[in-house]
Protein backbone atom coordinates (compact mmCIF):
# COMPACT_ATOMS: atom_id res chain seq x y z
CA UNK A 1 0.00 0.00 0.00
CA UNK A 2 2.53 2.64 1.15
CA UNK A 3 5.91 2.15 -0.45
CA UNK A 4 8.87 4.22 0.72
CA UNK A 5 11.91 3.68 -1.48
CA UNK A 6 15.43 4.82 -0.68
CA UNK A 7 14.28 8.00 1.09
CA UNK A 8 17.35 10.22 1.51
CA UNK A 9 17.69 13.77 2.75
CA UNK A 10 21.03 15.52 2.96
CA UNK A 11 22.07 18.84 4.42
CA UNK A 12 23.66 21.28 1.97
CA UNK A 13 27.08 20.16 3.25
CA UNK A 14 26.28 16.56 2.29
CA UNK A 15 25.67 15.11 5.76
CA UNK A 16 22.68 12.75 5.58
CA UNK A 17 19.65 13.30 7.85
CA UNK A 18 17.79 10.38 6.29
CA UNK A 19 19.97 7.73 4.75
CA UNK A 20 18.24 5.49 2.21
CA UNK A 21 15.11 4.48 4.12
CA UNK A 22 13.05 1.78 2.43
CA UNK A 23 9.97 0.06 3.81
CA UNK A 24 6.46 -1.04 2.80
CA UNK A 25 3.36 -0.72 4.91
CA UNK A 26 0.40 -3.00 4.17
CA UNK A 27 -3.28 -2.93 5.10
CA UNK A 28 -4.02 -3.67 8.75
CA UNK A 29 -0.62 -2.66 10.07
CA UNK A 30 -0.03 -0.30 13.00
CA UNK A 31 3.64 0.58 12.59
CA UNK A 32 5.62 2.46 15.23
CA UNK A 33 8.66 4.53 14.35
CA UNK A 34 11.00 4.50 17.32
CA UNK A 35 14.24 6.38 17.76
CA UNK A 36 15.98 8.98 19.88
CA UNK A 37 15.24 12.66 19.32
CA UNK A 38 16.91 13.73 16.08
CA UNK A 39 16.98 10.20 14.67
CA UNK A 40 14.71 11.32 11.80
CA UNK A 41 11.21 10.15 12.83
CA UNK A 42 9.40 13.44 12.24
CA UNK A 43 11.47 14.17 9.16
CA UNK A 44 10.49 10.81 7.66
CA UNK A 45 6.82 11.59 8.13
CA UNK A 46 7.16 15.15 6.83
CA UNK A 47 8.93 13.74 3.78
CA UNK A 48 6.17 11.15 3.22
CA UNK A 49 3.48 13.87 3.16
CA UNK A 50 5.69 16.19 1.10
CA UNK A 51 6.17 18.95 3.67
CA UNK A 52 9.92 18.43 3.37
CA UNK A 53 11.69 17.98 0.06
CA UNK A 54 13.98 14.97 -0.24
CA UNK A 55 17.35 14.61 -1.94
CA UNK A 56 16.67 11.14 -3.29
CA UNK A 57 14.04 8.43 -3.19
CA UNK A 58 10.31 8.04 -3.72
CA UNK A 59 7.11 7.81 -1.76
CA UNK A 60 4.44 5.93 -3.67
CA UNK A 61 1.05 4.59 -2.65
CA UNK A 62 -1.94 3.15 -4.47
CA UNK A 63 -5.61 3.98 -4.05
CA UNK A 64 -8.46 1.47 -4.10
CA UNK A 65 -9.02 1.98 -7.83
CA UNK A 66 -5.35 1.25 -8.47
CA UNK A 67 -4.48 4.92 -8.93
CA UNK A 68 -0.88 5.68 -8.02
CA UNK A 69 0.07 8.69 -5.90
CA UNK A 70 3.50 10.21 -5.31
CA UNK A 71 4.25 12.92 -2.74
CA UNK A 72 7.80 13.21 -3.99
CA UNK A 73 6.41 14.54 -7.27
CA UNK A 74 7.24 18.12 -8.10
CA UNK A 75 3.86 19.06 -9.54
CA UNK A 76 1.72 21.03 -7.10
CA UNK A 77 -1.54 19.52 -8.35
CA UNK A 78 -0.17 15.95 -7.94
CA UNK A 79 0.98 16.77 -4.44
CA UNK A 80 -2.48 18.10 -3.52
CA UNK A 81 -4.16 14.94 -4.87
CA UNK A 82 -1.74 12.72 -2.97
CA UNK A 83 -1.97 14.65 0.29
CA UNK A 84 -5.73 14.43 0.55
CA UNK A 85 -5.32 10.66 0.82
CA UNK A 86 -2.92 10.88 3.76
CA UNK A 87 -4.36 11.49 7.21
CA UNK A 88 -1.58 13.31 9.04
CA UNK A 89 -2.39 13.32 12.76
CA UNK A 90 -0.39 16.23 14.13
CA UNK A 91 0.10 16.90 17.80
CA UNK A 92 -3.15 18.38 19.08
CA UNK A 93 -1.59 21.76 19.82
CA UNK A 94 -1.26 22.32 16.05
CA UNK A 95 -5.01 22.74 15.56
CA UNK A 96 -6.20 26.21 14.58
CA UNK A 97 -6.78 27.51 18.08
CA UNK A 98 -9.36 30.21 17.37
CA UNK A 99 -11.69 28.03 15.32
CA UNK A 100 -14.36 25.83 16.83
CA UNK A 101 -13.73 22.11 17.22
CA UNK A 102 -16.11 21.35 14.33
CA UNK A 103 -14.37 23.87 12.02
CA UNK A 104 -11.05 22.23 12.82
CA UNK A 105 -12.42 18.82 11.85
CA UNK A 106 -13.84 20.24 8.60
CA UNK A 107 -10.35 21.37 7.60
CA UNK A 108 -9.71 17.68 6.89
CA UNK A 109 -11.74 18.01 3.67
CA UNK A 110 -10.04 21.11 2.26
CA UNK A 111 -8.00 19.01 -0.15
CA UNK A 112 -11.18 17.59 -1.71
CA UNK A 113 -13.26 20.70 -2.25
CA UNK A 114 -12.76 23.55 -4.67
CA UNK A 115 -10.71 26.40 -3.14
CA UNK A 116 -13.35 28.91 -4.21
CA UNK A 117 -16.09 27.06 -2.33
CA UNK A 118 -14.06 26.92 0.86
CA UNK A 119 -13.43 30.67 0.59
CA UNK A 120 -16.98 31.75 -0.10
CA UNK A 121 -19.57 29.61 1.62
CA UNK A 122 -17.74 26.88 3.41
CA UNK A 123 -18.98 23.36 3.95
CA UNK A 124 -22.25 21.59 3.20
CA UNK A 125 -24.64 20.14 5.78
CA UNK A 126 -23.74 16.64 4.65
CA UNK A 127 -20.06 17.37 5.34
CA UNK A 128 -20.95 18.82 8.75
CA UNK A 129 -22.87 15.62 9.59
CA UNK A 130 -19.91 13.46 8.61
CA UNK A 131 -17.59 15.68 10.65
CA UNK A 132 -19.90 15.17 13.66
CA UNK A 133 -19.70 11.40 13.11
CA UNK A 134 -15.90 11.62 13.15
CA UNK A 135 -16.06 13.64 16.37
CA UNK A 136 -18.47 11.12 17.83
CA UNK A 137 -16.03 8.33 17.05
CA UNK A 138 -13.35 9.98 19.23
CA UNK A 139 -15.91 10.85 21.92
CA UNK A 140 -15.78 14.60 21.29
CA UNK A 141 -19.19 15.26 19.69
CA UNK A 142 -20.29 17.25 22.75
CA UNK A 143 -17.41 19.67 22.21
CA UNK A 144 -18.23 20.55 18.57
CA UNK A 145 -19.12 24.20 19.22
CA UNK A 146 -16.27 24.89 21.67
CA UNK A 147 -13.34 27.15 20.76
CA UNK A 148 -10.40 24.78 20.29
CA UNK A 149 -8.07 26.87 22.46
CA UNK A 150 -10.23 26.03 25.49
CA UNK A 151 -9.63 22.25 25.25
CA UNK A 152 -7.14 20.19 27.23
CA UNK A 153 -4.18 18.49 25.55
CA UNK A 154 -5.88 15.09 25.43
CA UNK A 155 -9.07 16.57 24.00
CA UNK A 156 -7.13 18.44 21.31
CA UNK A 157 -5.34 15.25 20.32
CA UNK A 158 -8.69 13.50 19.90
CA UNK A 159 -9.92 16.36 17.70
CA UNK A 160 -6.76 16.03 15.60
CA UNK A 161 -7.61 12.34 15.11
CA UNK A 162 -11.21 13.23 14.19
CA UNK A 163 -9.88 15.62 11.51
CA UNK A 164 -7.82 12.79 10.00
CA UNK A 165 -10.78 10.34 10.14
CA UNK A 166 -13.06 12.90 8.44
CA UNK A 167 -10.44 13.23 5.72
CA UNK A 168 -11.12 9.56 4.72
CA UNK A 169 -7.46 8.85 3.89
CA UNK A 170 -5.83 5.68 2.58
CA UNK A 171 -3.43 5.61 5.53
CA UNK A 172 -2.53 7.67 8.58
CA UNK A 173 0.67 9.29 9.78
CA UNK A 174 0.79 10.20 13.47
CA UNK A 175 3.61 12.43 14.71
CA UNK A 176 4.13 11.69 18.41
CA UNK A 177 0.40 11.66 19.15
CA UNK A 178 0.90 10.81 22.83
CA UNK A 179 4.15 12.65 23.54
CA UNK A 180 2.62 15.53 25.49
CA UNK A 181 -0.05 13.51 27.30
CA UNK A 182 -0.40 11.94 30.75
CA UNK A 183 -0.59 8.11 30.90
CA UNK A 184 -4.39 8.02 31.13
CA UNK A 185 -4.89 10.22 28.07
CA UNK A 186 -2.13 8.38 26.22
CA UNK A 187 -4.05 5.15 26.84
CA UNK A 188 -7.25 6.73 25.47
CA UNK A 189 -5.45 7.85 22.32
CA UNK A 190 -3.81 4.45 21.73
CA UNK A 191 -7.19 2.73 22.16
CA UNK A 192 -8.63 5.05 19.49
CA UNK A 193 -5.75 4.50 17.07
CA UNK A 194 -5.67 0.68 17.32
CA UNK A 195 -9.07 -0.04 15.68
CA UNK A 196 -8.43 2.77 13.18
CA UNK A 197 -5.27 0.99 12.04
CA UNK A 198 -7.25 -2.15 11.22
CA UNK A 199 -9.24 -0.14 8.63
CA UNK A 200 -6.37 1.95 7.27
CA UNK A 201 -2.75 1.43 8.27
CA UNK A 202 -1.04 3.85 10.65
CA UNK A 203 2.60 4.87 10.73
CA UNK A 204 3.24 6.67 14.01
CA UNK A 205 6.26 8.12 15.80
CA UNK A 206 6.46 7.20 19.47
CA UNK A 207 8.75 7.55 22.46
CA UNK A 208 7.04 4.90 24.61
CA UNK A 209 8.33 1.37 23.84
CA UNK A 210 5.95 -0.30 26.33
CA UNK A 211 2.84 1.29 24.77
CA UNK A 212 4.16 0.38 21.32
CA UNK A 213 4.59 -3.27 22.40
CA UNK A 214 0.98 -3.38 23.60
CA UNK A 215 -0.75 -1.67 20.69
CA UNK A 216 1.37 -1.78 17.54
CA UNK A 217 1.90 -4.64 15.08
CA UNK A 218 5.39 -3.72 13.94
CA UNK A 219 8.33 -1.50 14.87
CA UNK A 220 10.73 0.36 12.60
CA UNK A 221 13.62 1.83 14.60
CA UNK A 222 15.72 4.70 13.31
CA UNK A 223 19.16 5.79 14.39
CA UNK A 224 20.95 8.69 12.75
CA UNK A 225 18.68 8.48 9.71
CA UNK A 226 19.14 4.73 9.13
CA UNK A 227 16.76 1.85 9.80
CA UNK A 228 18.41 -0.34 12.46
CA UNK A 229 15.42 -2.56 13.28
CA UNK A 230 12.30 -3.59 11.38
CA UNK A 231 10.23 -6.33 12.91
CA UNK A 232 7.74 -7.38 15.59
CA UNK A 233 7.03 -4.92 18.39
CA UNK A 234 8.52 -7.13 21.10
CA UNK A 235 11.87 -5.45 21.64
CA UNK A 236 14.57 -6.93 23.83
CA UNK A 237 16.58 -4.80 26.26
CA UNK A 238 19.50 -5.03 23.83
CA UNK A 239 17.37 -3.71 20.97
CA UNK A 240 16.24 -0.77 23.09
CA UNK A 241 19.72 0.15 24.22
CA UNK A 242 20.87 0.03 20.60
CA UNK A 243 18.04 2.40 19.61
CA UNK A 244 18.52 4.85 22.46
CA UNK A 245 22.29 4.49 23.02
CA UNK A 246 24.33 7.66 23.55
CA UNK A 247 25.70 8.97 20.28
CA UNK A 248 29.25 7.77 19.66
CA UNK A 249 32.05 10.24 20.29
CA UNK A 250 32.69 11.32 16.72
CA UNK A 251 29.14 12.67 16.33
CA UNK A 252 28.88 13.94 19.91
CA UNK A 253 31.41 16.67 19.14
CA UNK A 254 29.69 19.06 16.79
CA UNK A 255 31.84 20.50 13.99
CA UNK A 256 31.31 24.07 15.25
CA UNK A 257 32.51 23.10 18.73
CA UNK A 258 35.42 21.13 17.39
CA UNK A 259 36.54 24.11 15.36
CA UNK A 260 36.54 26.47 18.34
CA UNK A 261 38.26 23.96 20.70
Amino acid sequence: MLDVRNLTKRLPDGRPLLNGLSFRIEKGEFVALLGASGAGKSLTMRAIVGLTSVSEGEVVFTGETGKIYRTTSIRRQDLRRARRNIGFIFQGCNLVRRLTVLDNVMIGRLGRIHPLRSWLYGFTDQEAREAMEALDRVGMAGFAARITASLSGGEMQRVAIARAIFQRPLFYLADEPIAALDPKNAEIIMRLLQPLARENPILGAFHQPEAVTRFCTRVIALRKGCIIYDGPPRLSADDLSAIYAEPSSETAVRPSLAASA
Partner: protein, 264 residues
Protein backbone atom coordinates in the same frame (compact mmCIF):
# COMPACT_ATOMS: atom_id res chain seq x y z
CA UNK B 1 38.70 54.39 39.74
CA UNK B 2 35.70 52.23 40.51
CA UNK B 3 32.43 52.95 38.82
CA UNK B 4 30.45 53.67 41.99
CA UNK B 5 32.68 56.47 43.27
CA UNK B 6 31.97 60.12 42.63
CA UNK B 7 34.17 61.37 39.83
CA UNK B 8 34.96 65.06 39.49
CA UNK B 9 35.86 64.54 35.84
CA UNK B 10 32.55 62.92 35.08
CA UNK B 11 30.68 65.71 36.87
CA UNK B 12 32.39 68.35 34.75
CA UNK B 13 31.68 66.36 31.62
CA UNK B 14 27.94 66.33 32.39
CA UNK B 15 27.98 70.02 33.23
CA UNK B 16 29.71 70.84 29.95
CA UNK B 17 27.15 68.83 28.02
CA UNK B 18 24.27 70.61 29.77
CA UNK B 19 25.87 73.99 29.00
CA UNK B 20 26.26 73.15 25.31
CA UNK B 21 22.66 71.90 25.15
CA UNK B 22 21.36 75.08 26.83
CA UNK B 23 23.32 77.23 24.41
CA UNK B 24 21.83 75.31 21.45
CA UNK B 25 18.29 75.74 22.77
CA UNK B 26 18.82 79.49 23.24
CA UNK B 27 20.27 79.81 19.76
CA UNK B 28 17.33 77.90 18.25
CA UNK B 29 14.85 80.02 20.21
CA UNK B 30 16.51 83.23 18.98
CA UNK B 31 16.39 81.93 15.41
CA UNK B 32 12.64 81.17 15.74
CA UNK B 33 12.00 84.59 17.29
CA UNK B 34 10.80 83.21 20.59
CA UNK B 35 10.72 86.00 23.12
CA UNK B 36 9.63 86.19 26.73
CA UNK B 37 7.93 89.54 26.24
CA UNK B 38 5.81 88.09 23.42
CA UNK B 39 4.92 85.16 25.68
CA UNK B 40 3.71 87.43 28.47
CA UNK B 41 1.81 89.64 26.04
CA UNK B 42 0.30 86.56 24.43
CA UNK B 43 -0.89 85.17 27.74
CA UNK B 44 -2.59 88.46 28.67
CA UNK B 45 -4.19 88.69 25.23
CA UNK B 46 -5.20 85.02 25.35
CA UNK B 47 -6.90 85.46 28.71
CA UNK B 48 -8.78 88.46 27.38
CA UNK B 49 -9.82 86.39 24.32
CA UNK B 50 -10.99 83.57 26.54
CA UNK B 51 -13.88 85.67 27.76
CA UNK B 52 -15.10 85.84 24.15
CA UNK B 53 -15.43 82.02 24.05
CA UNK B 54 -17.62 81.92 27.15
CA UNK B 55 -20.40 81.37 27.78
CA UNK B 56 -20.84 78.82 24.96
CA UNK B 57 -23.61 79.62 22.53
CA UNK B 58 -25.71 76.52 23.28
CA UNK B 59 -28.36 77.59 20.80
CA UNK B 60 -25.85 76.56 18.11
CA UNK B 61 -25.72 73.00 19.43
CA UNK B 62 -28.53 71.56 17.23
CA UNK B 63 -26.56 72.75 14.20
CA UNK B 64 -23.55 70.73 15.45
CA UNK B 65 -25.35 67.39 15.57
CA UNK B 66 -25.32 66.87 11.83
CA UNK B 67 -21.61 67.69 11.36
CA UNK B 68 -20.81 65.42 14.31
CA UNK B 69 -22.70 62.60 12.60
CA UNK B 70 -20.83 63.32 9.38
CA UNK B 71 -17.55 62.94 11.29
CA UNK B 72 -18.69 59.59 12.70
CA UNK B 73 -19.84 58.45 9.25
CA UNK B 74 -16.54 59.45 7.64
CA UNK B 75 -14.73 57.23 10.14
CA UNK B 76 -17.33 54.46 9.95
CA UNK B 77 -16.72 54.24 6.19
CA UNK B 78 -12.96 54.84 6.22
CA UNK B 79 -12.03 52.37 8.97
CA UNK B 80 -13.59 49.22 7.40
CA UNK B 81 -12.16 50.13 4.00
CA UNK B 82 -8.72 50.59 5.56
CA UNK B 83 -9.12 47.31 7.48
CA UNK B 84 -10.04 45.36 4.35
CA UNK B 85 -7.04 46.67 2.45
CA UNK B 86 -4.77 46.12 5.44
CA UNK B 87 -5.53 42.37 5.26
CA UNK B 88 -4.29 42.38 1.68
CA UNK B 89 -1.16 44.37 2.53
CA UNK B 90 -0.61 42.29 5.68
CA UNK B 91 -0.73 38.98 3.79
CA UNK B 92 1.53 40.38 1.07
CA UNK B 93 3.88 41.69 3.75
CA UNK B 94 4.22 38.51 5.81
CA UNK B 95 7.50 36.62 5.53
CA UNK B 96 5.83 33.21 5.90
CA UNK B 97 3.30 33.75 3.08
CA UNK B 98 4.79 36.12 0.51
CA UNK B 99 7.96 35.89 -1.59
CA UNK B 100 10.68 38.38 -0.55
CA UNK B 101 10.08 40.88 -3.40
CA UNK B 102 6.35 41.09 -2.60
CA UNK B 103 6.99 41.42 1.12
CA UNK B 104 9.48 44.22 0.55
CA UNK B 105 7.09 46.08 -1.79
CA UNK B 106 4.15 45.80 0.60
CA UNK B 107 6.19 46.71 3.68
CA UNK B 108 7.71 49.72 1.91
CA UNK B 109 4.31 50.98 0.77
CA UNK B 110 2.76 50.76 4.23
CA UNK B 111 5.85 52.34 5.79
CA UNK B 112 5.44 55.30 3.44
CA UNK B 113 1.76 55.49 4.35
CA UNK B 114 2.69 55.52 8.04
CA UNK B 115 5.29 58.20 7.44
CA UNK B 116 2.79 60.58 5.82
CA UNK B 117 0.45 62.26 8.31
CA UNK B 118 -3.25 62.00 7.31
CA UNK B 119 -3.30 65.74 6.73
CA UNK B 120 -0.60 65.48 4.05
CA UNK B 121 -2.47 62.60 2.41
CA UNK B 122 -5.63 64.72 2.51
CA UNK B 123 -3.93 67.69 0.85
CA UNK B 124 -2.69 65.39 -1.93
CA UNK B 125 -6.17 63.87 -2.34
CA UNK B 126 -7.97 67.22 -2.33
CA UNK B 127 -6.17 67.94 -5.59
CA UNK B 128 -7.85 64.85 -7.10
CA UNK B 129 -11.25 64.70 -5.37
CA UNK B 130 -11.77 68.30 -4.29
CA UNK B 131 -12.82 69.37 -0.79
CA UNK B 132 -15.42 67.32 1.07
CA UNK B 133 -16.03 64.08 2.96
CA UNK B 134 -14.88 61.88 0.04
CA UNK B 135 -11.29 63.13 0.31
CA UNK B 136 -11.50 62.75 4.10
CA UNK B 137 -12.68 59.15 3.82
CA UNK B 138 -9.88 58.32 1.41
CA UNK B 139 -7.23 60.01 3.55
CA UNK B 140 -8.31 58.17 6.71
CA UNK B 141 -8.64 54.83 4.90
CA UNK B 142 -5.14 55.14 3.47
CA UNK B 143 -3.80 56.26 6.84
CA UNK B 144 -5.42 53.22 8.50
CA UNK B 145 -3.74 50.83 6.07
CA UNK B 146 -0.34 52.04 7.25
CA UNK B 147 -0.93 51.07 10.86
CA UNK B 148 -3.25 48.06 10.45
CA UNK B 149 -1.31 46.55 7.55
CA UNK B 150 1.83 46.44 9.63
CA UNK B 151 0.00 44.93 12.62
CA UNK B 152 -1.68 42.29 10.43
CA UNK B 153 1.63 41.41 8.75
CA UNK B 154 3.38 41.07 12.10
CA UNK B 155 0.53 38.98 13.53
CA UNK B 156 0.65 36.63 10.53
CA UNK B 157 4.39 36.16 10.94
CA UNK B 158 3.71 35.07 14.53
CA UNK B 159 1.33 32.26 13.49
CA UNK B 160 2.86 28.91 14.41
CA UNK B 161 4.22 27.34 11.18
CA UNK B 162 3.11 23.90 12.38
CA UNK B 163 -0.52 25.07 12.41
CA UNK B 164 -0.15 26.10 8.77
CA UNK B 165 1.65 22.82 7.97
CA UNK B 166 -1.14 20.80 9.54
CA UNK B 167 -3.66 22.45 7.20
CA UNK B 168 -1.38 22.24 4.14
CA UNK B 169 -0.88 18.51 4.87
CA UNK B 170 -4.53 17.65 4.07
CA UNK B 171 -3.97 18.96 0.53
CA UNK B 172 -5.14 22.54 1.09
CA UNK B 173 -3.92 25.17 -1.36
CA UNK B 174 -1.99 28.24 -0.21
CA UNK B 175 -5.17 30.35 -0.35
CA UNK B 176 -7.07 27.77 1.70
CA UNK B 177 -4.33 27.81 4.33
CA UNK B 178 -4.70 31.60 4.53
CA UNK B 179 -8.50 31.38 4.74
CA UNK B 180 -8.77 28.53 7.24
CA UNK B 181 -5.64 28.80 9.40
CA UNK B 182 -4.01 32.23 9.11
CA UNK B 183 -7.06 34.52 9.08
CA UNK B 184 -8.86 32.82 12.00
CA UNK B 185 -5.69 33.13 14.07
CA UNK B 186 -5.17 36.86 13.37
CA UNK B 187 -8.79 38.05 13.06
CA UNK B 188 -9.52 38.79 16.74
CA UNK B 189 -6.47 41.03 17.07
CA UNK B 190 -7.30 42.68 13.73
CA UNK B 191 -10.85 43.48 14.92
CA UNK B 192 -9.50 44.90 18.19
CA UNK B 193 -6.90 46.98 16.35
CA UNK B 194 -9.36 48.34 13.81
CA UNK B 195 -11.76 49.38 16.60
CA UNK B 196 -8.84 51.24 18.14
CA UNK B 197 -8.07 52.73 14.74
CA UNK B 198 -11.68 53.99 14.54
CA UNK B 199 -11.03 55.95 17.72
CA UNK B 200 -7.77 57.37 16.29
CA UNK B 201 -9.62 58.26 13.07
CA UNK B 202 -12.30 60.23 14.97
CA UNK B 203 -9.56 62.36 16.48
CA UNK B 204 -7.76 62.77 13.15
CA UNK B 205 -10.98 63.62 11.30
CA UNK B 206 -11.59 66.67 13.51
CA UNK B 207 -8.31 68.03 12.23
CA UNK B 208 -9.01 66.95 8.64
CA UNK B 209 -12.41 68.62 8.89
CA UNK B 210 -10.74 71.92 9.64
CA UNK B 211 -8.78 71.59 6.41
CA UNK B 212 -11.96 70.97 4.46
CA UNK B 213 -12.94 67.32 4.77
CA UNK B 214 -16.28 68.28 6.39
CA UNK B 215 -17.73 67.27 9.74
CA UNK B 216 -17.36 68.84 13.14
CA UNK B 217 -13.81 70.07 12.48
CA UNK B 218 -15.11 72.12 9.57
CA UNK B 219 -17.73 73.78 11.79
CA UNK B 220 -15.08 74.60 14.38
CA UNK B 221 -12.81 76.18 11.81
CA UNK B 222 -15.67 78.08 10.13
CA UNK B 223 -16.87 79.52 13.43
CA UNK B 224 -13.34 80.65 14.28
CA UNK B 225 -12.91 82.31 10.90
CA UNK B 226 -16.22 84.16 11.28
CA UNK B 227 -15.12 85.29 14.77
CA UNK B 228 -18.16 83.56 16.31
CA UNK B 229 -16.13 82.41 19.28
CA UNK B 230 -18.96 81.25 21.55
CA UNK B 231 -20.22 79.11 18.65
CA UNK B 232 -16.69 77.72 18.21
CA UNK B 233 -16.73 76.70 21.87
CA UNK B 234 -19.80 74.55 21.24
CA UNK B 235 -18.09 72.92 18.25
CA UNK B 236 -14.96 72.27 20.29
CA UNK B 237 -16.95 70.76 23.18
CA UNK B 238 -18.92 68.62 20.73
CA UNK B 239 -15.76 67.22 19.16
CA UNK B 240 -14.33 66.65 22.65
CA UNK B 241 -17.47 64.67 23.55
CA UNK B 242 -17.15 62.74 20.29
CA UNK B 243 -13.56 61.78 21.00
CA UNK B 244 -14.38 60.85 24.59
CA UNK B 245 -17.39 58.74 23.59
CA UNK B 246 -15.50 56.94 20.81
CA UNK B 247 -12.75 56.14 23.31
CA UNK B 248 -15.23 54.66 25.78
CA UNK B 249 -17.01 52.71 23.02
CA UNK B 250 -13.70 51.45 21.68
CA UNK B 251 -12.55 50.28 25.12
CA UNK B 252 -15.84 48.48 25.68
CA UNK B 253 -15.93 46.82 22.25
CA UNK B 254 -12.32 45.70 22.48
CA UNK B 255 -12.96 44.13 25.86
CA UNK B 256 -15.81 42.20 24.21
CA UNK B 257 -13.49 40.96 21.46
CA UNK B 258 -11.09 39.89 24.20
CA UNK B 259 -13.72 37.47 25.53
CA UNK B 260 -12.57 34.84 23.03
CA UNK B 261 -9.12 35.21 24.51
CA UNK B 262 -10.38 34.59 28.05
CA UNK B 263 -11.46 31.07 27.05
CA UNK B 264 -7.85 30.03 26.67
Amino acid sequence: MSAGKFSVGRYHRHARMAAVLAALVLLAGWQCEVSLSDLSKGIVKGLAMLSLFFPPDWKAFPEMVRPALVTILICAVATPIGTAFSIFFGVAGARNLAPPWLRLTSRTLIAIERGLPEIVILLLLVAAFGLGPMAGVMALAIGSIGMLGKLVGDAIEEVDPRIMDSVAAVGATRLQVIRHAVLPEVLPSLVANSIFRFEVNIRASVLLGAVGAGGIGYELNAAMNQLEYSRATVAALTSLALVFLSERASDYLRSRVGLGEALK
